[in-house]
Amino acid sequence: MSGWGTPSRTVTLGRVQPQSPALRTIYCNHREANFAHRYKGNSISTTKYNVFTFLPKGLYEQFRRVANLYFLMVSILSATPYSPVHPITNMVPLSLVLLFSLIKEAFEDWQRFQNDMTINNSLVDVLQAQGWESLQWKKLQVGDIIRVKQDGFFPADLLLLASTNVDGICYIETANLDGETNLKIRKALERTWDYVTPEKACEFKGEVQCEQPNNSLYTFTGNLVVDNQTMPLSPNQILLRGCSLKNTDYIVGTVIFTGHETKVMMNSMNVPSKRSTLERKLDKLILALFSTLFSMCLLGAIGSGIFIDRKYYYLGLSQSVEDQFNPSKRFLVIILTMLTLLTLYSTIIPISLYVSIETIKFIQSSQFINKDLNMYHAESNTPASARTSNLNEELGQVEYIFSDKTGTLTRNLMEFFKCSIGGEMYGTGMTEIEMGVAERKGIKVQEAKTSTNSLREKGFNFDDVRLMQGAWRHEPNHDACKEYFRCLAICHTVLPEGEETPEKIRYQAASPDEAALVLAAKNFGFFFYRRTPTMIYVRESHVEKMGKTQDVSYEILNVLEFNSTRKRQSVVCRYPDGRLVLYCKGADTVIYERLGTGNDDLNKVTRVHLEQFGSAGLRTLCLAYRDLAPDLYESWNEKFITAKSSLRDREKRLDEVAELIEKELILIGATAIEDKLQEGVPNCIQTLSRAGIKIWVLTGDKIETAINIAYACNLLNNEMKQFIISSETDAIREVEERGDQTEIARFMKEEVKKQLKQFLDEAPQYFCSPSGPKLALVIDGKCLMYALEPSLRIMLLTLSLNCSSVVCCRVSPLQKAQVTSLVKKGARKITLSIGDGANDVSMIQAAHIGIGISGLEGMQAVMASDFAIAQFRFLEDLLLVHGRWSYIRLCKVVMYFFYKNLAFTLTQFWFTFGTGFSGQRFYDDWFQSLYNVIFTALPVVIVGLFDQENCRNMGLFCSVSISSLLLLRISFKFNEQGFRW
C-alpha cells in the first residue's frame, strides 16, 4: 500500500515532478485510488453537436462560408429603409440554404448519436464484490477488472490478465482497426495467468505504469508492478477497443485507457480532409464575383450621386428630403445608394452553389461510382467505393499517377516459385515476365512442361523433381536443404488454423509472402501445424523412408519481429536436443551485410541467383542461420529483456539489441516468390498513358524486378531511352566496402548529381525531336534519398517531368510520400496515388487523390484513401469515365450558376440606369428570393447528373488532361456572355 502513496504525492508536488509526467499510473481493481487522477469515463461521443450547441455551432459552421456570411449581411441591410427590396428577398434564400444544410448536419449527427448510444449502452461483465456484474460500457472506469466473452468486443483498451486458454493466450481479430481478418495472438504475463475466476481476480492488486494515451496502434510501453516486482508490458498484452475476442471462452483484463483515450478513438480524431482544386478555384471565382458586384454598386452609386437634382420637381426633393435622395449631400447619397444596390444585386452571389455542388457530388459518388458495375469485382464481391465525395471532379484532372507495385499492379497472390539452396537453383517454371522478355528477344517460348507429379496449390507453384516428394534427401547438399526447410517452417509469425492435417490446415499470416513460405515448407515435408507462445510444432519427414514422419517441437526463445526499417525477421529457437539456433530471413541487402566471413563462393553464387530471380520478376528473400553458444545467448538475452522492458524508445532499443545477435550469419539460400500481374493492367496503363497521364511506379522491390514489372505493364519498352540511376555500381560498392559512412554519403551524392546532370544534358536532344524515343527514368531508393535533397531536387524534378514513365525501386514509405509531394508541389499538377498496403498510406495521404486497392494486405490503405477499388484496371473507368464526366459536369454546373446569376443580376443592373440610379427593383420580391434556391435549382442539378459526352468506350476521346485553366477560361467566356445579355 505504501507504494501507492508515492506517485500521488509527486503529482501534488507539481512542477518539481521527480516522476515523468509522460507516465500514467493505474491501480488495478481500486476505484478510489484511480479516482484521484480523474481519468475520463468510458462513454464516447462522436457527435459534433449537442442540443444546446447545435444552433450556435451549426450556424457558426455555416457562416464560415463567405457566401452565407454575405447573405446574412445583406439580409440585415435589407431590413433598413435603404433597401429597395423586402427583407424576405434575401432572407428566404439564406434561410432555405441554412435550413437545408442544418437539417443535413442534424441528420448526420443524429445517426452518430444513435450509434454512440448503442455502443455506450452495451453490456460487459465487471468485477464487483466477488462476482461478475453486467454493467454498461459507459460506466466502465480505468482500473476496473472486466471479463469479455468469446466474439465479444473489448469495451476499452485492456491489459490482458488471464484467459481460459492455456498459457494465458487469446486470439483477437483486429478487422475494425485495420481490416485485417487474420487472428492475432495476445498473451498475458505469466504472473497474472491465474486470475480467471472472480474469486481470484478480486485478490489482484497491481499497478500499471504506462505511457499516456496516444494514437499509435502498434506500440505500447508500460510496466506492471505487482508486489514490488516490475514486469515489462508490450503490445502483446494489450487488447484494443474495437477488436474482438476469438477462439477463446473468455478473458479477464483490466481497463487502462477508456473512452476517447483509447487508441482507436484517438486514431479516428483527425482525418485530414482534402479540398478539391475546383473548390479552391471556386473561392477565387466568387471573389471575382464580389469584385464585380462591388464595381457595379460603385458605378450605380456614383451615377445616383450625379443624377439626383432638384430639377426633377416631381420627386419632391425641395423640402425635408431623406439623406439618400438629398441633392445637397451628394456624397452621402453615394454611400447610401451603395448599400441599396448591395441588397439589390445580391443575387449575383450564387448562394446555393455550394449546396447544389455538394448534392451533385454526393449523388455522383454514392450512385454512380459506388454502383458502377464496370468497377464491380465479382470474384471478391467488392464494388468501388468513394469514401469522400469531395474529389470526384479531381479524378478527371489527374496528370500523374504514383502506383505501388505489389498488390496494386500485381495480384499479391504469392506463389512459391523458385529457390536457391546452398548454391543450387531449383524450380523449373517460367514467369510471365520471362516469357515476355523472351518474346521481345524473339525467342520462341515452348510451353512449359509440367511434370505429372507436380503439386499445385494456391500459394505454391513449384516444380522440380529434385526436391519434390522427398527427393531432396538424395541431393548432394541435403543438409543445407534440411536447414532451409526448417528455417521456412520456424522463422515466421504465421498462425495455423483448423484441423492439424496438411490438407485442411489454413495459415493466418500478416503477409501473403509468409504464408507462401510456410506452405512451401509444408509441401517439402516440414509441416508446421501448431503454435503456442513458446513452442512451434513441426511434423518433419526427413527420415529416409517416405511417409514416415516425426513430430518435432522447437522452443521459441525470442522473436525479433519484422518491420520496414529492419527488413528482416529472426527467431531464436532451441531444438529438442538443446541446439540453439537463430534463423533469419530478410531482404538480400540486409542479410548480406550481416553474413559471416568464409563461404564467399556460396554467397556469390546465391547473389547471381538472386539477380536472376529479380530479372524474372520474382520477389526474393534470403535465408540464413547462426548457431549460438548458450553463454553468448544468455548474455544477449539479458540485454534483450532490459530493452524489452524499457519504457522509452523501446522499438529503437530492441532494434539495437537485435543488431548484436543478427551478425556472422551463415547463408542457406534464397526464396523466389512469384506475384502475378493483375488482370488488365497493361491495357489500363496503355490507355491511361494515351490519355496523357504519366505513371510512376514506386516499389520496395529490387531494381531488376521493378524494371521487369515495368516492361510487363507496358511502362517501359525497348524503344525508350532509359536513364538508370542505381546505387548498385562498382564504384559505389567500392566506397561502401571501405565503410566510412560520411564518405559514402558524400560520394553517393556526387555520383547522383553527376548522373542527373549528364541525363539532363542528354534529355533535350531526345525530347525536342518529334520522332525521338520517349524517355524513362529508373532510380533506386538510396540514390533517391540524395536526389531528394534540396540542392538536387530541382534537377530530379525537371528530368522526371520530361520522362514519360518513372520507376523508383527500393523506396521506403516515406520516400514514396516525398516523391509524391515533390511532383504535387514542384510541378503543380494533380497527382494520384494508388496502393494497397500500410506502406502506401503516407503516399496516399500526400497526393491530391489517394486510392486504395481493397486487396489482401489489410485495409489500412483503404482506410486512408479517398476512393477504394478492387482492381487496378478499374482506374481506367474511375478516371476516364467518372472523373472526366464529373469534372466536365461540375465545370458546366459552375458556369451555369454564374451564367444564370449574372444574366439575372445584370438585367437588374441595366435597369438601374433607366431609373435614375435610384435602385428601383426590377423583379418581384418573391421571384428574386426564390430564383436561386427554387426556380433554377433543379436544372443545375440535372446538368450535374445527366450531362454526358459520347465517350464511355471511346478510349482516346476520353483524354482527361484538359488544361486546368480551362475552367477559369470558359467561365470567363460565359461571364462575358452574361454581360451581353
Partner: protein, 330 residues
C-alpha cells in the same frame, strides 16, 4: 449496400439501375457538318418568314407622333420656359395641326408621350398608398406617401408624389371644323378600376398646398372613375413612356387635316423632358414596332449565310469525321 440491386436481370434494366449505370437512353447528337448546315438552314427558313410577317403587321400600323412641348411655348417665352409654364396668368392654349398620311381605321388610340421622365424612380414609385386609394380616409396607411401625405394637418386623398404630379395637358381634336369625339372611358385597366381604386373614395384636400405638381381632380367623382389618374398611377417602367389618353372611334382618311387644341399645362421644362402627342392604329400584333420583325429577319438571314459559308467550306476543304489530329491536346 449496393449488392442487392446488382443481382437479377430484371433489376438490371430498371430505370434506377440504368440511372446508376449512367446508361439512360439519351440524345447524343454528333455535330457533323451536314447536321450543322441543315440546322442553320432550318433556322433560317423558319425565322425569315416569321420576321417578314411581323414586319408587315408593324408596317400596317399608322402612327402619327407630334412633339409639342417647344412649339407650344410662345416665341417671347422660349428663353425661360420654366417661368412661362409656372405663371398661371398666361393662358396655355395652343394648337397644332397635321395631315393624316394614310387611311387610319378606328379605333385610333391617342397617347401622350413623355421622354426623360423618371416615373420609375424609387422615391417616386414608393410615394403612394394603395390602402388609401382603395379604402379612402386612413390616417395610418399614408406614411408611405412622403413627402406629400398631409396638407394643413389633414391627409391628402390621393396622397403621394405620383398623384400629386398628375399629367394635366388636355387635347381636343377637330377635323373639318367639326370636333372629333374622343372616348375617354375605359382607358385604364379594368382590374385597377375594380379592385385597386375605391368606388367610395373621393379626392380630398388634393393640390391644396403651396406647391402644385400637376393636375387637379374633381372631388365629386370617386377615384375608381378618375381614369386619367388611374392610368397615371400605373407607373412606367422606363423613363420614356406613352400613356393612353383616349380613343377616336371614327376612321381618318388620307390627307384629312386634324387640328388639335391643347392646354399645355404640364411642366416638363424644368428637367428638359419632351412631350409628344401620338395617334396610332393597332394591328393583330399591337402597335408599331419594327424591332421584333427586324430581329427575326436578321437572325434568319445570318443563319442562312452561315449555312452557305459552311457548305462552301465543307465542299472546298472537307474534314474527316473522327480525325484525332484536330484534338486540342495534339
Amino acid at each position: 449496400m449496393t449488392d442487392t440491386d446488382r443481382g437479377t436481370q430484371r433489376d438490371r434494366h430498371s430505370a434506377f439501375s440504368l440511372f446508376t449505370q449512367q446508361s439512360l437512353p439519351a440524345c447524343k447528337p454528333v455535330l457533323t457538318p451536314e447536321w450543322v448546315i441543315m440546322t442553320f438552314l432550318f433556322i433560317g427558313f423558319i425565322f425569315i418568314p416569321v420576321g417578314l410577317v411581323t414586319l408587315r403587321a408593324s408596317h400596317s400600323v399608322v402612327e402619327i407622333v407630334e412633339r409639342y412641348d417647344i412649339g407650344c411655348v410662345p416665341e417671347p417665352f422660349r428663353i425661360d420656359k420654366v417661368s412661362y409654364i409656372q405663371d398661371d396668368s398666361i393662358p396655355k392654349n395652343c394648337s397644332l395641326s397635321f395631315k393624316v398620311p394614310k387611311y387610319m381605321k378606328a379605333p385610333i388610340y391617342i397617347y401622350y408621350q413623355l421622354d426623360n421622365y423618371y416615373q420609375n424612380h424609387r422615391r417616386y414609385v414608393k410615394s403612394r398608398s394603395d390602402k388609401q386609394l382603395l379604402h379612402g380616409q386612413n390616417e395610418h396607411g399614408i406614411s408611405s406617401c412622403q413627402p406629400v401625405e398631409v396638407n394643413n394637418d389633414r391627409p391628402i386623398i390621393p396622397c403621394g408624389l405620383i398623384a400629386w404630379s398628375l399629367f394635366n395637358d388636355t387635347f381636343t381634336f377637330i377635323r373639318n371644323r367639326a370636333e372629333l369625339k374622343v372616348n375617354r372611358k375605359n382607358i385604364a385597366w379594368k382590374s385597377d378600376r375594380g379592385h385597386k381604386f375605391g368606388k367610395n373614395v373621393y379626392p380630398f384636400n388634393f393640390q391644396n398646398g403651396t406647391l402644385i405638381g400637376g393636375g387637379k381632380l374633381n372631388p365629386t367623382i370617386p377615384l375608381s372613375d378618375q381614369e386619367d389618374l388611374i392610368v397615371w398611377m400605373r407607373t412606367s417602367a422606363l423613363p420614356s413612356f406613352r400613356k393612353l389618353y383616349g380613343r377616336i372611334e371614327k376612321d381618318l382618311d388620307v390627307d384629312d387635316v386634324v387640328v388639335v387644341h391643347l392646354m399645355n399645362n404640364y411642366n416638363t421644362y424644368s428637367f428638359g423632358g419632351k412631350k409628344k402627342l401620338v395617334l396610332s392604329t393597332t394591328s393583330w400584333l399591337g402597335g408599331k414596332n419594327d424591332f421584333l420583325g427586324l430581329a427575326y429577319v436578321f437572325i434568319g438571314s445570318s443563319s442562312v449565310t452561315i449555312a452557305v459559308v459552311f457548305t462552301l467550306l465543307h465542299l472546298l476543304s472537307p474534314r474527316h469525321y473522327e480525325d484525332t489530329s484536330y484534338l486540342p491536346w495534339n
